[in-house]
C-alpha cells in the first residue's frame, strides 16, 4: 500500500499508474499535473507539469512503445501531451480543437498507433493521430448535444470472421453525454470518420463516465455511470448484435456515481461515488452483478 498525502493544493480529479506500475500521474484543480515514482511501498515526487490554464480533469499514459508520454485534459479546452526524456519532462504538443472544457482523454489500444480520444463540453469528441512526422490529423465528431462527459475505446479485437474489412473498421469507442445518452461509434473507411453505430438509452440524468472493458472476450462489456445514481452494464455478443442492458443493481446508489473502471483482467468493476465510497462488482455465473467488496479507506 502506498499513501501520498497532500499531493496537491486543491482537489485531485484523476490519478493513473503507468503500464509498469512504476509511475503515477495525478492532476488537480490547482492546474498542475504531478508525476511520482512508485517503488514497493515508497514514493517520490519527480515532476510538476505546468501548462494548463484551468483545472486538469484527467490524465492518461501512452503505451510504453511510444516512449514515456502522458496526455492531460482541462477545463481550459486543451489537451496537452507531455514527454519525459533523460529524466526531464516537457510539453511536446497541444491539441486545441475544442471550444469548451475537455472532460476526458484516452489513448487508443496501442495496436492502432498513437491515437488519442478526447471528449468535450462543446458537444464534440475528437480523435487525433500523432504521426511520425509530427503532423496531427484530428477527426471531429458531433457526439452529444449539450456536452460529452466521457469517452472510452473498445479493446483491439481480431475479427477473424470478417477478413474483408480493413483493420481500421474494427475501431470503436463509446461516449457518454449531458443528454443522458450512451453512444457507440465505429470507424468507417469510406467516410474516413467515426459513424454512430448505436444509441443506448437508459439513464435519466447526465452520464458521468463510460468504460469499455479492456478484456478481449467474445462479449463486449460497457459500464456507464450517471448523475442519476445508477450504473448500467451494456453487453454485446460477437461485436455485431444489439446491445443488452443490465442494471448493475435495482436500487439506486446513495449518491451520484462519478467513475467506473474495469480491472485489466477478470472484469472486476470499481465504481466511485459522491458518498466517498469505492465499491467493487463482478458478474456471477447467472449473468447477474454482485458486490465483490468495498475498498477500505
Amino acid at each position: 500500500m502506498v499513501a501520498i498525502a497532500n499531493a496537491h493544493n486543491d482537489l485531485i480529479h484523476d490519478a493513473v499508474l503507468d503500464y509498469y506500475g512504476k509511475r503515477l500521474a495525478t492532476c488537480s484543480s490547482d492546474k498542475t499535473i504531478k508525476i511520482f515514482e512508485v517503488e514497493g511501498e515508497t514514493h517520490k515526487e519527480v515532476a510538476t507539469l505546468e501548462g494548463h490554464d484551468g483545472p486538469v480533469w484527467r490524465v492518461d499514459w501512452a503505451h510504453p512503445k511510444f516512449g514515456t508520454i502522458l496526455a492531460s485534459c482541462s477545463y481550459d479546452g486543451k489537451v496537452l501531451i507531455w514527454k519525459e526524456e533523460n529524466g526531464r519532462w516537457s510539453q511536446i504538443a497541444c491539441h486545441a480543437v475544442h471550444s469548451a472544457s475537455v472532460n476526458s482523454v484516452q489513448w487508443a489500444p496501442h495496436e492502432y498507433g498513437a491515437l488519442l480520444l478526447a471528449a468535450s463540453s462543446d458537444g464534440k469528441v475528437s480523435v487525433v493521430e500523432f504521426k511520425e512526422n509530427g503532423t496531427l490529423t484530428p477527426i471531429i465528431i458531433d457526439a452529444h448535444n449539450i456536452g460529452v462527459n466521457s469517452a472510452s475505446w473498445a479493446p483491439a479485437t481480431l475479427q477473424e470472421n470478417k477478413p474483408t474489412k480493413s483493420p481500421e473498421e474494427s475501431r470503436r469507442f463509446v461516449t457518454g453525454g449531458a443528454d443522458n445518452l450512451v453512444k457507440i461509434w465505429k470507424y468507417n473507411n469510406e467516410s474516413q470518420t467515426y459513424l454512430l453505430e448505436d444509441t443506448l438509452q437508459g439513464h435519466s440524468d447526465w452520464v458521468r463516465d463510460v468504460a469499455w472493458s479492456p478484456s478481449v472476450l467474445l462479449r463486449s462489456y460497457i459500464a456507464s455511470v450517471s448523475q442519476d445514481k445508477t450504473c448500467i452494464i451494456w453487453t454485446q455478443e460477437n461485436n455485431d448484435s444489439s446491445w443488452k442492458k443490465t442494471e448493475l443493481q435495482k436500487e439506486r446508489f446513495p449518491d451520484v456515481l462519478w467513475r467506473a473502471s474495469w480491472s485489466l483482467s477478470g472484469n472486476i468493476l470499481a465504481l466511485s461515488g459522491g458518498d466517498n465510497k469505492v465499491t467493487l462488482w463482478k458478474e456471477n455465473l447467472e449473468g447477474n452483478w454482485e458486490p465483490a467488496g468495498e475498498v477500505e479507506q
Binding site: V2, A3, I4, A5, A7, N9, D10, L11, I12, H13, D14, A15, V16, L17, Y19, Y20, G21, L24, V38, D53, P55, W57, R58, Y75, D76, G77, A96, V97, H98, S99, A100, S101, N103, S121, D122, G123, K124, I140, N145, I146, G147, D179, N180, W258, R259, S261, S263, L264, S265, I268, S272, G274, N276, K277, V278, K282, A292, G293, V295, Q297
Partner: protein
C-alpha cells in the same frame, strides 16, 4: 456548439426546470416587428433540435397581447406571462400527449390596476406567484385558487415604508418562502418585504463614494443559499455597479462589483448550482459572468447591438444560459467559449479568398466573436468529485483519498478472484 441556438425573436423568455431544458419565448412588448404586425406568440423550443437546421418551435400559440415578462414555476406546471394589456397576467401550461407537445392558455386574470412589468414564482411554495407593476403595485397570487375560483383575489404584500414607484424586478428569497425583494428603474432603493409581518421591512439604498449620488437600484436577486445575502444592480448609466448586501448590515453593501458594464444593468441571475457564478446584462448590450467569491468579472460575452434586457441560467443545467435583447435575438450560449485552432483555421481560409469570394462571404458570415475570459473559473459541477478509483496492472487500484488531495494505491482482495490476481503478478 458554444452558441447552442439563436432564435430570431424580439421576445422575453423563461426556462423550464428540466435537465435538458425547454425555453418558452413570448413576443416582447414595446417593439415594432419587421413587418409592423402586432401579432404576439408564445413559443416553445427544445435544445435537442438539430443545431445545423434553422430552429423551429416545438409548440406555439397566438396570444392577444405581447409580453413584458415570463416565468416558469419550479414544479414545471405553470408558465406565467405579464401581458402588455392593462394589468393582465396570463397563465399557460406545457401539455404532453403521447409524443405531441403543445402550449395551452389556462386563463387571463386582471387584478392589477396598471401595467404588470414582472412576475416570479416562489421557489419554495410552488403555487405562489408575485407580480409587480406601476405605482408600486405588487400582488401575491395562489395559482391553484386563481384557477379554481372565479372570485379569488390576490393579496398585497402589506405596508410600504415609503411611496413606491414603478417596480421592474422582484425576487423571492430562496429559502424563506415569505420573504421577497422588489426594485424599480426610477427609484434609488430596493425593498425587502416580509409577508408574515405584512410590510416592507428593509429599505436598501446606496450612495456612490465616487459620485456622491444615489444610483437607481433597478434589479434585485437573492443569493442561492445565504438567506441574508441579496444582490442589487444599478440601472444608472453613469454608475452601473452590482452591489451585494448582507441584510444584517443594510447600511452599506458588503461588496461592490464594477467591471465591463458601461450603461445601466437590466438583469441579474445568480446560479443556484454554484453560488460563485452571477450573470448580468444591460443597456450596453454586454453580458457578463462574475465570480462572486473572487469579486471580479470572469467572462465578458460578445456585446450585443441593443439593450440586453434578460439573461438567465437554465436552472437545472446552468452550463447553458439565454439572453434576450432588443436586437431581435434570443441567444442560448454555453458559459465557456474558447478560441481554438479551428477558428484560426477559418481565419486563415478567409485570408486565402479572392476579392470576389471575400465580398460574397462577408455579408453572410457571422464574425467570430469570442467572449473575453479574464479568469478561467470552472463551475463546481465539473470535474470528478469522488475518490475516483482506477485499476492498474497487478490487481492494484489507484484511488484518490477522502480529502481529495492525496492518493492511495491499494490491492483489494476480491473473493474468488485470488487466482486471477496471481496471474497478474
Amino acid at each position: 456548439m458554444v452558441k447552442l441556438a439563436e432564435y430570431s425573436r424580439t421576445a422575453t423568455f423563461a426556462w423550464s426546470q428540466d435537465k435538458i431544458p425547454y425555453i418558452v419565448t413570448g413576443t416582447a412588448s414595446g417593439t415594432i416587428a419587421a413587418d409592423f404586425s402586432n401579432d404576439s406568440t408564445l413559443e416553445l423550443w427544445s435544445l435537442l433540435s438539430d443545431p445545423k437546421k434553422d430552429p423551429t418551435p416545438v409548440a406555439s400559440i397566438t396570444t392577444d397581447a405581447r409580453f413584458k415578462d415570463l416565468d416558469w414555476s419550479f414544479d414545471n406546471k405553470f408558465i406565467a406571462g405579464a401581458l402588455d394589456d392593462n394589468g393582465k397576467i396570463e397563465l399557460f401550461s406545457k401539455e404532453e400527449n403521447d409524443t405531441k407537445i403543445s402550449l395551452k392558455s389556462l386563463g387571463k386574470f386582471k387584478k392589477h390596476t396598471t401595467a404588470v412589468n414582472t412576475l416570479r414564482f416562489n421557489p419554495k411554495q410552488q403555487n405562489v406567484l408575485a407580480s409587480a407593476g406601476n405605482n408600486g403595485e405588487i400582488l401575491i397570487w395562489d395559482i391553484n385558487k386563481t384557477l379554481s375560483s372565479t372570485d379569488y383575489s390576490p393579496s398585497a404584500p402589506g405596508i410600504a415604508m415609503s411611496t413606491q414607484d414603478e417596480i421592474k424586478s422582484v425576487s423571492w428569497n430562496k429559502s424563506l418562502a415569505h420573504v421577497f425583494a422588489s426594485a424599480g428603474d426610477t427609484t434609488t432603493y430596493a425593498s425587502i418585504w416580509d409577508l408574515k409581518a405584512k410590510k416592507e421591512v428593509i429599505h436598501l439604498n446606496y450612495t456612490s463614494p465616487k459620485t456622491g449620488l444615489k444610483p437607481n437600484l433597478a434589479v434585485v436577486e437573492w443569493h442561492p443559499k445565504v438567506t441574508t445575502y441579496v444582490a442589487t444592480a444599478s440601472g444608472s448609466d453613469s454608475d452601473p455597479v452590482i452591489l451585494i448586501w448582507d441584510l444584517r448590515n443594510s447600511n452599506m453593501p458588503m461588496t461592490t462589483l464594477e467591471g465591463p458594464h458601461t450603461k445601466g444593468i437590466m438583469s441579474l441571475d445568480w446560479c443556484t448550482k454554484d453560488e460563485s457564478l452571477l450573470l448580468s446584462s444591460g443597456r450596453d448590450g454586454i453580458v457578463a459572468l462574475w465570480d462572486t467569491k473572487a469579486n471580479e468579472v470572469s467572462t465578458t460575452y460578445p456585446t450585443r447591438s441593443q439593450w440586453c434586457f434578460k439573461t438567465k441560467f437554465a436552472p437545472e443545467n446552468p452550463d447553458i444560459f439565454a439572453s434576450a435583447g432588443f436586437d431581435g435575438q434570443i441567444n442560448v450560449n454555453t458559459l465557456q467559449d474558447l478560441t481554438n485552432s479551428q477558428d484560426s483555421q477559418t481565419q486563415a481560409d478567409t485570408n486565402k479568398e479572392s476579392e470576389s469570394e471575400f465580398w460574397n462571404h462577408v455579408s453572410t458570415s457571422t464574425p467570430l466573436e469570442k467572449p473575453t475570459v479574464s479568469k478561467i473559473h470552472a463551475p463546481n459541477w465539473y470535474g470528478n468529485r469522488s475518490p475516483a478509483a482506477q485499476w492498474a496492472f497487478g490487481g492494484k487500484l489507484v484511488k484518490i483519498s477522502k480529502d481529495g488531495k492525496g492518493v492511495e494505491i491499494v490491492k483489494p482482495k476480491v473473493q474468488g478472484m485470488e487466482c486471477n490476481l496471481k496471474l497478474n503478478e
